[in-house]
């Protein structure tokens, strides 16, 4: 990270800092950097910035660095950080908020983050169409979009032999309700 004038940066990005606090409902300014979140985070080893640094970067208004980070996507929402935080900051909720912002800002994702976001899209796409998760459809779509057509083929075969894969999706009766929910939220969030 190059040298940054933090004084002017905080002023310039006050909107971002306030927005994260408001949308996540979390007092990010209360964090005093004890690092307990990072010490307990099971995925910190794979992150570019550990959780305590993400919170510090939010406090300093480093919007671009935060929203482009791998860390916000790697958070598995285990909430170990949240349950241990002595300042009662729900970090998992902050990570959720940052992922949502990164999406809405159209951040180009790379590496692990890109794959995680794509997996979420493929999962939700089956829910939007069927009302319920369709595991096989999700996997095939994910493989198609990543170009690894036979990824997890062994897993799929093993699941098939145990009767754990359904070839056709299960839909709920009013599955079309779900597409409407997705559409209404997209409309609302576009307006924001």
């Amino acid at each position: 990270m190059p040298a940054i004038n933090l004084t002017s940066n905080v002023k310039d990005n006050l909107d971002f800092i306030m927005h994260v606090s408001k949308e996540s409902g979390q007092p990010v300014q209360h964090c005093y950097q004890c690092g307990k979140c990072t010490a307990g985070c099971p995925v910190a080893f794979a992150m570019d910035y550990p959780p305590n640094r993400i919170i510090r970067m939010v406090q300093l208004g480093l919007k671009e660095h935060v929203l482009k980070s791998q860390a916000i996507w790697l958070c598995a929402y285990c909430s170990t950080c949240t349950s241990r935080c002595p300042r009662n900051v729900n970090l998992a909720r902050v990570m959720d908020c940052l992922r949502g912002m990164a999406r809405r800002e159209g951040i180009q994702l790379e590496g692990r983050a890109k794959k995680i976001a794509l997996f979420y899209d493929c999962f939700l796409d089956t829910v939007k169409r069927n009302g319920k998760l369709y595991e096989l459809g999700m996997m095939l779509n994910y493989n198609l979009k990543t170009g690894h057509f036979f990824k997890d083929a062994g897993t799929g075969l093993a699941m098939f032999t145990k009767g754990k894969i359904k070839l056709i999706p299960t839909k709920n009766e009013n599955y079309k309700d779900l597409a409407q929910i997705f559409e209404r939220i997209e409309e609302m969030e576009e307006k924001c």
């Binding site: 598995a76 929402y77 170990t80 959720d96 995680i116 997996f119 359904k166 929910i181 939220i185």
Partner: protein, 285 residues
């Protein structure tokens, strides 16, 4: 006892053992589970990770359906439980959000439902009532109870302590099993990262399996389909990659209560695990 039952999307696929054994055990113990007509996906991790509103709305649609039934709700899947319970809490505490979500779903929810994990529902029977039903105590089973994350965190919805929960340990002792004290009870297996970043999940799951083996157990007990899938299905791959030699059956707590209360392995889907369960089941007298 009567509950609206939310089985979750994996009920007929990757977690069918959980759904089958939950239904069988509840029937046997006198807990009536009523299917929620027209239930849909709770949104799981992809839902709330994509948009807060989406996460709440997908669960709230189901809460509205349960409210129409006039019952409280229970979910077997830990992820579904967490999502439904959090959405319930947010809808009850924030009237503005509640109104907004009701407009989105088109199914008004008024906050009249309690959401419980199936673990709580079974535990609420109390040890005396469960002991009275035990026909085959689980002697010789030495278990590591693995809770994972989703039913013990965050605190607003936790069913027990987030660091050292006991609720399933107590149930297992009630049905005659030996439960060990171990330090990985609520460590994360990586859950939803499995498809996109399997290497992370293999590393985390390997640590959990190692701790369980070091604790000297002959099986793991869980109450979460994501944990179960990672610990059971990925065990073979972990052995290959890390040069380990684990052969540790992973049971749902409902399967073991079922065995102890006289249900047959076939009624509990014990044959559909990836790690063979037969040798360990034979240990029960």
């Amino acid at each position: 006892m009567k509950y609206a039952y939310f089985p979750g999307c994996c009920d007929h696929t990757s977690a069918k053992e959980y759904d089958i054994s939950t239904r069988a055990v509840c029937k046997n113990l006198g807990i009536e589970l009523i299917d929620i007509p027209d239930w849909s996906c709770c949104g799981s991790t992809p839902g709330h990770s994509t948009s807060h509103l989406l996460g709440v709305a997908l669960s709230a649609r189901n809460l509205a359906l349960v409210e129409e039934m006039g019952l409280d709700c229970t979910a077997s899947c830990a992820a579904c439980y967490q999502r439904l319970a959090l959405a319930n809490m947010e809808m009850k505490n924030d009237m503005k959000l509640c109104e907004k979500i009701n407009c989105i779903t088109g199914k008004p929810y008024h906050g009249g439902v309690k959401v419980k994990s199936i673990v709580e529902v079974v535990a609420e029977l109390g040890p005396e009532q469960i002991t009275a039903r035990v026909l085959k105590p689980l002697e010789n089973l030495k278990m590591a109870v693995y809770y994972g994350c989703l039913m013990v965190r965050p605190k607003e919805i936790q069913v027990d302590d987030p660091e050292n929960p006991q609720i399933i340990d107590k149930l297992m002792r009630t049905v005659g099993g030996e439960v060990v004290d171990w330090s990985y009870k609520t460590e994360c297996c990586g859950g939803g990262l499995a498809i996109s970043n399997e290497d992370i999940v293999l590393r985390l799951t390997n640590k959990i399996l190692k701790e369980a083996v070091d604790a000297g157990v002959n099986c793991i007990v869980t109450a979460c389909p994501l944990c179960h899938f990672n610990l059971d299905m990925r065990q073979k791959k972990i052995n290959k990659i890390f040069g380990t030699n684990y052969h540790l059956p992973v049971f749902y707590f409902t399967q073991l209560i079922g065995l102890a209360t006289g249900l047959k392995p076939g009624e509990l889907s014990l044959e559909t695990h990836f790690v063979d369960t037969r040798e360990v089941i034979k240990l029960i007298a």
